[in-house]
C-alpha cells in the first residue's frame, strides 16, 4: 500500500506527534562545522571536477548546501498560499480537512523561518557571501497562475523528494555536517504528512474534474517543471561566482562552464529527476493521472 494513503484526521495526529520548534532545531548560538560537507556524495557532482582542490570542492559542496536549503524556503512561499486556499475551501465543511490544511500552512511558515535562520547562520560563518536566485514572490505568482491540480501535483513532487533525499542520502551518512542533517531530518518528518495531504487534496480535486481539466493540469505541471529547471540553472551559474569569491580564485571560461554544468546537473537531479523517478510519485500518477506517465519518462531523461 502506498505511503500516501491516509486521511485528514490521521495526518493531524501524526503531525502533532512529530512537531518541533525552530528554537529546538536551531538553538541560539548554533554553529556549522565547515570542515564537513553539507550535501551527500550521491547528490553532489563537484567531486568529479579535476581542476578543483579538495578544499575548493568542499566549499562548492557547502555553497550547494546553502542554495539547497534556500530553494526550499523559496518554494514554500507558494506552498503556504496554496495550503491557505485549500483550508479556506473547507471552512464550514470538513473540519478534519480544515484543521489539517491550516496545520499544513502553519508548518510551512515554520519551515520558511527555519530556512531563514539556517541562511543567517550560514552567511555569518561561511566567510564570504553566496549569491541566490531572487523573487520567490514572482515565482509563487507564476506557479499559482496555473491550474490548482497542477499546483498540488508540483507540491506533492517536491514533498516526496525531501523524503527521498533525507532517507536515501542523508540519514545514514556519518561524514555530513550534523546540524545540516538534523535540519533536514526535522523538515522531512513534517513534509511526510504534507505529502499525504497533497495526495488527499489531489484525489478530491481529481474526482470533480473532467478529462480536459486533468489534461490541462498535466500540461501545467510540466510547464512549472520547465520553468523551475530554468531557475535552477540560474542558481548553478550563481554558484560559480560564489565559489570564486569563497576560494579567492578566478576560473577560466572552460572551468566556469564545467563547474556550472556540474551544479546544474546536481540541481536538476535533486529537484526534478528525483521527483519524476520516485516510485511513490509514479504509483500515484499511474492511479490518478496516467496521462502524465509518458511526460515524466521524457522529463526523467532530460534531467538525468
Amino acid at each position: 500500500m502506498s505511503i500516501l494513503v491516509s486521511d485528514y484526521r490521521k495526518c493531524v495526529e501524526l503531525s502533532e506527534r512529530v512537531a518541533w520548534r525552530v528554537e529546538d532545531v536551531v538553538p541560539p548560538g548554533s554553529t556549522f562545522d565547515f570542515t564537513k560537507p553539507f550535501m551527500p556524495n550521491a547528490m553532489f557532482f563537484g567531486d568529479g571536477i579535476a581542476f578543483l582542490s579538495p578544499h575548493e570542492r568542499l566549499r562548492l559542496n557547502q555553497i550547494f548546501g546553502n542554495s539547497y536549503g534556500y530553494l526550499f524556503y523559496f518554494v514554500e512561499a507558494y506552498i503556504i498560499d496554496m495550503a491557505m486556499r485549500h483550508a479556506t475551501a473547507e471552512l464550514y465543511g470538513d473540519e478534519h480537512a480544515l484543521r489539517a490544511m491550516l496545520r499544513f500552512a502553519e508548518e510551512e511558515v515554520k519551515h520558511q523561518q527555519l530556512f531563514l535562520r539556517f541562511g543567517e547562520i550560514f552567511n555569518s560563518q561561511f566567510g564570504t557571501s553566496c549569491d541566490l536566485v531572487d523573487s520567490p514572490q514572482a515565482v509563487a505568482s507564476f506557479i499559482l497562475s496555473k491550474t490548482p491540480m497542477a499546483v498540488v501535483l508540483v507540491t506533492l513532487h517536491l514533498e516526496i523528494i525531501t523524503q527521498t533525499h533525507y532517507v536515501d542520502s542523508m540519514r545514514e551518512s556519518k561524514q555530513l555536517e550534523p546540524l545540516f542533517v538534523s535540519l533536514f531530518r526535522n523538515h522531512w518528518v513534517e513534509e511526510a504528512q504534507h505529502a499525504k495531504l497533497d495526495a488527499l487534496e489531489l484525489i478530491k480535486l481529481r474526482r470533480d474534474a473532467d478529462d480536459a481539466m486533468v489534461q490541462r493540469a498535466i500540461t501545467d505541471y510540466f510547464a512549472i517543471a520547465e520553468a523551475f529547471a530554468g531557475l535552477l540553472a540560474s542558481q548553478a551559474k550563481l554558484d560559480v561566482t560564489s565559489l570564486e569569491r569563497a576560494v579567492q580564485r578566478t576560473f577560466s571560461e572552460e572551468e566556469r562552464t564545467e563547474i556550472e554544468a556540474a551544479q546544474r546537473r546536481a540541481y536538476h537531479r535533486a529537484f526534478l529527476y528525483d521527483g519524476v523517478t520516485n516510485p511513490q510519485f509514479l504509483e500515484f500518477l499511474a492511479e490518478h493521472f496516467p496521462g502524465a506517465l509518458e511526460g515524466v519518462q521524457a522529463a526523467a531523461q532530460a534531467f538525468a
Binding site: R85, H86, T88, A89, E90, L91, Y92, G93, T147, P148, L205, D208, A209, M213
Partner: protein, 87 residues
Amino acid sequence: MAMAAEILEDTTNVLTEATFNRLVRALGKGTGTMLGHEVLLAMGLRELASQNDLLAFANHLITRGGAVESVGRALKVSALLRGATES
C-alpha cells in the same frame, strides 16, 4: 411560492446538498436552508449543476456580508479550485 416549494423538494444533487450543508453549519438549519433556497430562486436555478453555478451562488452570498459572506468566500475558493471561472 410554488416554485420555492418545488426547489425545496428537488435540491438533491451532491453539489447542492454539500453547499446547503455548509450554510446550515454556519447559520443553523432554518436560516441556512432558507437562505440557500432564496439564492437559488434569485439565480433562477433548481440546483447547482456545475462549479460555475457554485461560483455564482457564492458570489451572491458574498454580497450579504457577515457570516454569510464568510461561507460565500469559502464556497468561492472551493469552486475556483475545481475549475470554475469568473465570467
